[in-house]
């Protein structure tokens, strides 16, 4: 640990966290290495693939493009937190039923991005088009599925949340 290490205090999945981190450490490395929250994955390490997508103060961010020291005072939610709270349970079930994941490495980030789309106020509880779903997920790389099943899964959840009005 270098002398330049800084203390940060934040909330991760509802728990208060106080840690000393090196300034160069990214948020995703901090989550994985310091907090053992390995559900956030490292893919490209430069903001392209979306495998490290987590929610910071309600907005999805790339965990590899944000430094841990920038997270002092923020609220971070990872796939572990989103799972335990039940917030994305319907998306998870739809992904499982529709086989919208194969290796599963992109899935935590994909679910966070899908949930972000479905929470967008401009949707007004409506169902996004398949093109809109594809566009919103276009920052999340999946090598396995070809995306079709992911779009199906997100679309089905959007329909269900909209109360089946279609």
């Amino acid at each position: 640990m270098s002398d330049l290490a800084l203390d940060i205090s934040l909330t991760v999945n509802g728990e208060a966290v106080h840690e000393r981190v090196e300034p160069r450490k990214t948020l995703v490395d901090f989550l994985r290495e310091d907090l053992s929250l390995t559900g956030s994955h490292v893919g490209c390490e430069h903001g392209v693939c979306g495998a490290c997508t987590v929610r910071v103060n309600g907005e999805i961010v790339r965990g590899c493009l944000m430094l841990a020291v920038q997270c002092d005072g923020v609220k971070v939610e990872t796939i572990e937190g989103l799972s335990d709270s039940g917030e994305v349970a319907d998306l998870q079930t739809a992904f499982e039923q529709r086989n919208a994941l194969q290796c599963g490495y992109c899935t935590p980030g994909m679910i966070a991005a899908a949930q972000d789309l479905l929470l967008q106020p401009q949707l007004r509880g409506g169902v996004p088009s398949r093109d809109k779903i594809r566009e919103h997920l276009s920052g999340n790389y999946c090598r396995c599925t070809g995306y079709h099943a992911i779009v199906d899964a997100v679309e089905s959840v959007a329909q269900a949340r909209a109360g089946g009005k279609q």
């Binding site: 160069r24 992904f95 290796c103 899935t107 679309e155």
Partner: protein, 798 residues
């Protein structure tokens, strides 16, 4: 989209009460992945674990004149700095050859370069430290002096007399050569009504698994055992290789493979840095972890394709294809990759070209040459995308030349559905294919006539859409003919062990592996059906060489067809054993009983006789109540290997519908269809998703992906911002259809489906692009990937 949790059961000869064969049941192991609770190798941490980072050659070809490590050794957190020469004392080098690829040669490769680096990115020194960050810090302090050597980069000149020879001991830069001449090719061309000739170029590309390659090696000097947590497709193959090159017995090595973040053939090879990591653990007597970063992945994960093929087709006015001829040249880097070799892809191109058609005249030449670029080897669909693009590209160019519809020319040349068993001009043996039924299914599924009419109408409005097709065959269920006969210890057989636990549930151990294809689901479906329990009573264990039957793992579309059959047979065997126990308890004849939904029943009436948990209780805890001399055997193992056919070929046809913006050169994919025949379908949803994922990987090759190198052998786009992969917004919906021709080699009749999508997609996207541009007088595009600038050049706009 409405998601239904199951499809109606399909009754087949495999039907048993509560059959799961042919049903789209969800995979049993997905919740841990959707919740972020999987365990990938990159997640593994062990007590005393150190991290290794590698100093890598910045040159494509250079002599290493000195390595100064003193400063690095003093860097904070550093445990050891190890050069290639030092590691060579711990681990022996390897040579990637197979005896059945006659003449194939390669040079010894070391885990870390010794004296000479042969491609940009080859590891030349290892730094082991407490953390990866500290290891990387110290890498900056290792001073390597290089004497740059001339780099051989262009395959076209690799065999010229004036080109330097990369490995002097080999005599030249030729790794492998194959020639084939069948029928009367010259005579056929001479008498053809038309001959079309062109050159196809396939961009070098790579797998870009979302999780990079990863390994944690843990040598326990007290136990004299090496435990390797490895993101691999073939644990037993790696057990053999780690043991062999560390001079250990195989039983001293345990390979554990849990979740793997994508593989696609990338994770089925021997990588120098992974071998080095295992050797470092032995040397340092502690766990060592290596996870490739993304730049390392681009310059060290195997690349593939990179073929230049001069190709020629003869055709008569009635559409009869008279001859095919190809000349393939491919550069594979400085070493043939161990142990599967880098000659297989070119060999496959020779085998597969022209494969769907009756044409008896075929000549092929393939040359595989060394070069100073990253190594090439087998990536999903090995050779198929190339052979299919060449064949189908030629077929559609021939159709255009004689003014025939592209589906019609196929109808006139595809091997007839009643012609089986038969073989191709190249000698491939086909048990049963369904080219014509697949084509007819595709024709109606896509409403071909309607799409053509729409295309014509839009063309009048200046909108240029194209329709392209690709018929294909796919090699699946490989027997020992693939690797075993060539001397590689890569098993083609596989096994499954099933046991009844003390509550009546079934535990399955299998030698195949799961990297997301759904292999574990398929195994569970097979055992649940053949034994007679519901799926929730089946737990599948894979990826542990200590505990699974010796098996090949998952590659070449073998998991369902081979691993599934072994599981099916093991389930049946255990059912027999359990019924023997039941018969002795119930004082009945075993043949009058059956197991249905976890209960022993009367076979004829279905009357419930004995629940399995009660049977297990008696057998395990009150065996004293069983008749004297009767021993319950509640565990059974069965193995399976295809014997009647070297490979179970599958077939199918794909279609692409796309639109080209003739001002920007951008291609918009509108729809993709695939009809394929993988024999018995165990889980329709999993088959469709293999097809869809494979198609998109093929589309990547056609439109985006290429590892760009300069003439000095420097990779120019080794990151995910510059190397483009398919993302959701560019991809079309993909409709799948099926024809079912089971193989008679196994009771299940399942063939593989993992590579069909990748095999056919590049060809039909290429054909669709050329179909769209043809009325504009553009020269046919045959140089993948088809980037906007190439399209604009073909249109004469730039």
């Amino acid at each position: 989209m409405k998601i239904t949790d199951d499809s109606p059961p399909v009754l087949t000869t495999l039907d048993r009460p509560n059959s799961y064969i042919g049903r789209s049941v969800p995979r049993p192991n997905l919740q841990r992945l959707t919740q972020g609770r999987g365990q990938y190798v990159s997640d593994v941490t062990l007590p005393r674990m150190a991290h290794v980072a590698f100093v890598r050659s910045p040159h494509a070809h250079a002599r290493i004149t000195s390595i100064a490590t003193a400063a690095a050794k003093k860097s904070p957190g550093v445990i050891a700095v190890i050069t290639g020469a030092e590691l060579a004392k711990v681990m022996t080098p390897w040579i990637g050859v197979l005896t059945h690829l006659k003449g194939l040669k390669s040079a010894p490769q070391y885990p870390i370069a010794v004296e000479r680096a042969c491609w940009q990115g080859e590891a030349v020194c290892a730094v082991v430290a407490r953390s990866r960050a500290e290891a990387e810090d110290a890498c900056e302090l290792v001073e390597v002096a290089y004497e740059e050597l001339p780099a051989v980069t262009d395959p076209e000149t690799a065999l010229d007399a004036k080109t330097p020879v990369i490995h002097a001991a080999l005599g030249d830069n030729l790794c492998f050569e194959r020639k084939l001449d069948v029928g009367s090719v010259d005579k056929a061309f001479a008498s053809s009504d038309a001959v079309v000739e062109t050159t196809f170029i396939f961009g070098r590309h790579t797998g870009v698994t979302t999780e990079a390659r990863a390994v944690v090696a843990d040598w326990n000097a007290g136990e004299q055992r090496m435990i390797v947590y490895h993101a691999t497709q073939a644990p037993h193959m790696m057990q053999n290789l780690f043991a062999k090159h560390l001079d250990l017995a195989e039983h001293q090595v345990r390979v554990l493979t849990k979740d793997v973040g994508g593989s696609f053939g990338i994770k089925v090879h021997t990588y120098a840095d992974e071998m080095a990591t295992v050797a470092l653990s032995k040397l340092l007597k502690r766990p060592v972890k290596f996870v490739a970063d993304r730049i390392e992945s681009f310059v060290t994960d195997i690349h593939a394709r990179d073929h230049r093929i001069k190709a020629k087709i003869g055709v008569n006015k009635d559409g009869t294809i008279t001859a095919f001829e190809i000349d393939d040249l491919t550069g594979i880097g400085p070493y043939s990759v161990y142990p599967r070799t880098s000659g297989i892809e070119a060999n496959q191109v020779v085998n597969l070209t022209g494969g769907p058609y009756t044409c008896p005249n075929y000549r092929a030449q393939a040359r595989v040459v060394f070069q100073n670029k990253n190594v090439m080897c087998q990536y999903r669909a090995v050779g198929h995308p190339i052979a299919v693009a060449v064949t189908e590209g030629l077929v559609e160019l021939a159709a255009a030349k004689i003014g025939m519809d592209p589906l019609e020319i196929r109808r006139r040349n595809l091997i007839a559905d009643d012609a089986y068993p038969t073989q191709s001009a190249a000698g491939l043996k086909f048990e049963k294919l369904s080219h014509h039924e697949s084509l007819a299914h595709l024709d109606s599924m896509m409403n071909y006539a309607g799409v053509r009419a729409e295309q014509k109408k839009l063309r009048e409005q200046g909108i240029y859409r194209g329709i392209g097709f690709a018929s294909f065959i796919e090699v699946t269920n490989p027997s020992a003919a693939f690797y075993g006969v060539g001397g590689a210890r890569i098993t083609s057989q596989d096994g499954a062990t099933v046991k009844l636990d003390a509550q009546g549930a079934i535990i399955v151990h299998s030698g195949v592996t799961e990297q997301g294809q759904g292999a574990e689901a398929v195994l569970a479906q097979c055992v649940a059906t053949s034994f007679g329990v519901s799926l929730d009573k089946v737990r599948v264990v894979t990826g542990d060489t200590d505990n699974t039957p010796y098996g090949g793992g998952t590659w070449a579309s073998r998991a369902a067809g081979i691993g599934g059959e072994a599981a099916w047979q093991a389930g049946k065997a255990l059912r027999g054993n359990v019924l023997a126990v039941a018969a002795s308890i119930l004082q009945a004849k075993p043949e009058t009983l059956d197991i249905r939904n976890g209960i022993v029943v009367d076979k004829v009436t279905g009357t419930e006789r004995l629940p399995l948990d009660e049977l297990a209780r008696i057998a395990y805890f009150r065996p004293d109540t069983l008749p004297p001399g009767f021993q319950a055997e509640l565990m059974a193992t069965r193995h399976y290997v295809p014997r009647a056919w070297p490979f179970a070929f599958t077939n199918g046809i794909q279609a692409s519908y796309l639109e080209i913006d003739v001002d920007t050169g951008f291609v918009k994919l509108l729809k993709h269809w695939c009809v394929e025949d993988c024999g018995t379908i165990i889980n329709p949803q999993l088959v469709d998703e293999q097809i869809r994922g494979g198609v998109v990987q093929g589309i990547g090759a056609a439109l985006f992906e290429q590892c760009l190198y300069d003439e000095r052998g420097q990779m120019l786009n080794g990151n995910m911002a510059d190397y483009l992969v398919p993302m959701a917004v560019e991809m079309p919906d993909i409709e799948c259809g099926h024809v079912v021709s089971p193989t008679a080699d196994s009771e299940l009749g399942a063939k593989g489906a993992g590579e069909a999508g990748t095999a056919g997609a590049p060809a039909c996207v290429m054909n669709a692009i050329n179909d769209a541009l043809r009325p504009l007088g553009a020269k046919a595009l045959t140089d993948m990937p088809f980037t906007p600038d190439k399209i604009l050049r073909a249109l004469g706009k730039v």
